[in-house]
């Protein structure tokens, strides 16, 4: 159970949590790239669609351009009829067999041409203009009429030949015209095809440009993306390293933090228990009153101070050969792990050296600052549990604090239980006050002269569920240390005043008022409020205070005491005789009662000087009109000694132990009986009915 004393309130500024980094730019860039990629996909789909359509169109155009060539068919017809005309003209002149054969041959060839004109490939051309077909049909029928004559050209006379020539001339006009038009159409169509192809080529060029552009953009994107990815990877690695560093280091001082210490300690402890390494020592160090500095001078100064502390520690430890780790484990608590193989004495000396280094003055808030430091050190032993080392060091540190600070205390196993008990008490005190586990018990005060009970003192008593009865002496300092003394005092005061109402007339109640309660501005109002609430008359309440409240601001203290006394409340000075016990206190304020500290009473039977002091105090007090009560009376001899010096108001176990309110009547009876026995010469100490 790691108990860390005084670490509950961690200041905001000295905290050690790492900062959270921003989102990397890769996320934003990826978003843009996703949009670009989507747009590009759409663009590519469009390009593919347009291109497919283009290919189909081009294919169609290609087919058109590969079509049967009407220009040639027409042109060939023109040559053939010219050849026929030439042959006929030649025959008309020569009348030779050869020329006749030529006429016959070209007649057949022209006949062939007319049949070609009927070829399917030529029909589209003929249909383009109605006049063409008409011309050609007329020409063909003329030729058909002329054909028998041409075949029998040898038998024709000159006139018939001339007529035939004229007829052929007409056929020629038609064939020539159709042929020329075929050529013109062909040229036009070729031009049209070229224009279409050129347009498509332009479009194709754009598509290709788009394609290359897209590819270029993709490459650029992937380059940029790659660069971002690389930088993201780098920054991820960096932040992983940073995070690991931050997780294991304190951001304020740069020292390893508690996590790092725990890891390192676990490794060292494991090595220890396996017997691989030697002993280790854990030194816990903290500044005395750091919280005060933080609160009064501000966190800035506190932070600066902690950084200097860390630097000094790191600097000193670097000079040690056996330093294993220096870490900041909390607000102002630092831990140094040392190899203690060479002996505990060396380690203790080193610890003291470190403490002394931390106690030297610091530069802070524009001046120098002196802060003490305390340390606790625990060394592992062969059979001890290494895991307990840090707890033990903390216990030793707490002991160093309790025993006056500014020192290093080595852990003593005997104090462990006491410390843990104290820690438990501290942890549960608040709850105990709130739930009424702590109630006043009452101890009677007897006037041995008259044999009567003259009052009771309320003493807080805690009955703990597991620890049993815990005395006020044990938990009051703890309550004072944690500030719970205010609620504790208030609770006890209220209970005591309420209980006192049922006490026999003439018996008042005395309640201790701690200096901390007393320092509160509203103490007078608070007490008045309690009296009003409980209905106890003021004169039945005595407030017991100690001289500590006279040590500082004594004027204010006297003013407060006077106001309380004016209310009717009696004021007793407790524990008189210890501390300074300056006589001036007795002059400054009209006390109602002095309570002589038990340390004098214990000595009275054996020490004449103690008897003399008690006698003098009593005489002086009575001279000043102040009642005197002797505390801690435990034996009949003490009673007699006190009576001998004139002190007759007594309190202590001899007369009665503190008891619960329900047992108080019995305690009173027994107290009276005890005094009566002294008077009648029967010596028997009173026994309390219960603790």
């Amino acid at each position: 159970m790691p108990v860390r004393p005084g670490r509950s309130a961690r200041s905001r500024s000295n905290d050690m949590s790492p900062a959270r980094p921003d989102l990397p730019p890769i996320c934003r860039v990826t978003g843009i790239f996703n949009v670009l990629a989507a747009l590009m996909t759409i663009a590519l789909l469009i390009i593919i669609a347009v291109h497919a359509n283009l290919v189909t169109e081009t294919e169609r155009t290609m087919q058109r351009s590969s079509r049967y060539d009407s220009a040639w068919v027409g042109a060939a017809g023109r040559i053939e009829i010219l050849n026929l005309q030439k042959a006929l003209a030649g025959f008309a002149l020569s009348r030779s067999e050869e020329d006749a054969d030529q006429v016959v041959l070209f007649t057949e060839i022209l006949a062939n041409r007319f049949s070609i004109y009927r070829a399917p490939g030529f029909q589209a051309f003929l249909d383009a203009k109605p006049r063409r077909r008409q011309l050609l049909v007329e020409a063909e029928s003329r030729f058909a009429m002329a054909r028998p004559q041409l075949a029998a050209v040898r038998d024709l006379n000159a006139a018939a030949l001339a007529a035939l020539g004229a007829e052929l001339e007409r056929v020629f006009a038609a064939v020539d015209r159709v042929g020329a038009e075929g050529q013109a159409d062909s040229v036009n169509e070729a031009a049209q095809i070229r224009a279409e192809m050129r347009a498509r080529q332009t479009l194709q060029t754009w598509l290709v440009s788009g394609l290359f552009g897209s590819i270029a953009l993709l490459l650029a994107m992937s380059t940029v993306q790659n660069r971002f990815l690389r930088s993201a990877t780098r920054s991820a690695q960096r932040s992983a390293m940073d995070f690991s560093y931050l997780a294991h280091h304190d951001s304020l001082t740069g020292l390893p933090n508690r996590m790092a210490f725990t890891d390192a300690f676990a490794r060292a402890a494991a090595a220890c228990s396996e017997g691989r390494t030697r002993k280790i020592a854990v030194l816990a160090l903290d500044l005395d009153g750091f919280k005060n500095i933080n609160d009064r001078l501000g966190h800035g100064v506190g932070d600066a101070l902690l950084r200097q502390v860390a630097e000094r520690l790191a600097g000193c430890c670097a000079a040690f050969d056996n330093c294993m780790l220096t870490a900041r484990v909390g607000g102002d608590e630092f831990v140094v792990m040392l190899d203690a193989s060479d002996g505990a004495q060396d380690v203790l000396a080193q610890a003291e050296q470190l403490r002394a280094a931390l106690s030297e003055s610091y530069v802070a808030a524009g001046g120098s600052l002196l802060v003490g430091a305390s340390g606790g050190i625990a060394v592992s032993d062969a059979d001890g549990d290494p895991d307990a080392l840090l707890v033990n060091a903390d216990i030793a540190l707490a002991q160093a604090k309790l025993s006056g600070k500014g020192r290093v205390v080595a852990f003593d196993p005997a104090t462990r239980e006491a410390f843990l008990r104290r820690a438990l008490i501290e942890a549960e005190l608040g709850e105990a006050i709130a739930t009424g586990q702590i109630v006043p018990h009452y101890q009677i005060k007897m006037d041995v002269g008259s044999g009567r009970v003259c009052g009771v003192e309320a003493l807080a008593r805690w009955t703990h569920p597991t620890l049993g009865a815990i005395s006020t002496a044990e938990f009051t300092p703890i309550a004072e240390g944690s500030g719970l003394i205010l609620s504790l005092g208030r609770s006890i005061l209220e209970r005591a005043c309420r209980d006192a109402r049922s006490f026999p007339e003439g018996i008042g109640v005395a309640v201790n008022l701690s200096a901390i309660q007393f320092m509160r501005d509203d103490v007078v109002d608070a007490i008045e409020q309690v009296l009003r609430a409980t209905g106890l008359p003021a004169h039945r309440l005595t407030l017991e205070v100690t001289e500590t409240l006279m040590l500082s601001e004594s004027e204010r203290a006297i003013d407060t005491l006077t106001r309380l006394r004016d209310m009717g409340v009696a004021i007793a000075l407790d524990d008189f005789g210890t501390g300074y016990s300056a006589l001036s206190y007795l002059r400054q304020f009209p006390w109602d009662e002095l309570k002589i500290d038990r340390s004098f009473i214990v000595e009275m039977e054996t020490d004449a000087r103690a008897r003399a002091i008690v006698g003098s105090i009593t005489a002086m007090a009575h001279e000043l009109g102040i009642d005197v009560t002797a505390e801690g009376v435990e034996t009949r001899g003490q009673v007699e000694a006190l009576r001998a010096v004139g002190c007759e108001t007594l309190q202590g176990y001899f007369l009665g132990r503190p008891v619960a309110v329900a047992d108080l009547p019995w305690a009173m009876l027994e107290g009276v009986a005890a005094v009566a026995r002294i008077g009648s010469g029967v010596a028997a100490p009173a026994q309390s009915r219960s603790a």
């Binding site: 590969s66 016959v104 062939n112 054909r147």
Partner: protein, 160 residues
């Protein structure tokens, strides 16, 4: 009038017949250039038919229906003549001139058609010889390049 016309028609038919339909003994093809012997060879229809026969049934741009062409395997003709060139220069009766790569003959098994749908072709219908490509079985042939090589009324061939 009627009789005169009839006589005229009859005369015309008689006159046309010998001119349009070459007889088997007439020379219809002359081949020269790089051939065995180096001298021009004249071939009659009988000579050609002696070289074997092949048929291509195909549509052409000049007819609306497929036609069965029958004739000499062009390859057989070149082998017979010992032709060694790679280009044939073809001249037709109508003075049409075209070039025919020998490779086409190898690739497409061209024929030098004599008959069309079983009948000898007259000059008035692409006769007497017509270079025929198998257009239907090779669609890549359906363009003006091959249409131009597909010469009709073939009269002479020069091998180069």
């Amino acid at each position: 009038m009627f009789d005169r016309l009839r006589v005229l028609v009859l005369a015309a038919v008689l006159a046309v017949l010998p001119a349009s339909l070459a007889l088997a003994g007439d020379v219809i093809l002359t081949v020269d250039g790089k051939i065995a012997g180096g001298k021009p060879v004249d071939l009659t229809r009988a000579d050609l038919e002696a070289l074997g026969s092949a048929t291509i049934v195909t549509a052409t741009p000049w007819r609306d229906k497929p036609v069965s062409f029958e004739g000499v395997p062009f390859k057989a003709l070149l082998e017979k003549l010992g032709a060694t060139g790679d280009t044939l220069y073809v001249v037709a009766l109508n003075h049409y001139r075209s070039e025919l790569p020998v490779a086409d003959i190898e690739t497409y098994d061209l024929i030098l058609a004599l008959k069309q749908d079983g009948a000898y072709m007259p000059v008035s219908d692409k006769g007497p010889l017509f270079i025929v490509y198998p257009f239907d079985s090779h669609p890549e042939l359906k363009n003006e390049v091959y249409y131009a090589r597909s010469a009709w009324q073939v009269r002479s061939i020069t091998v180069e």
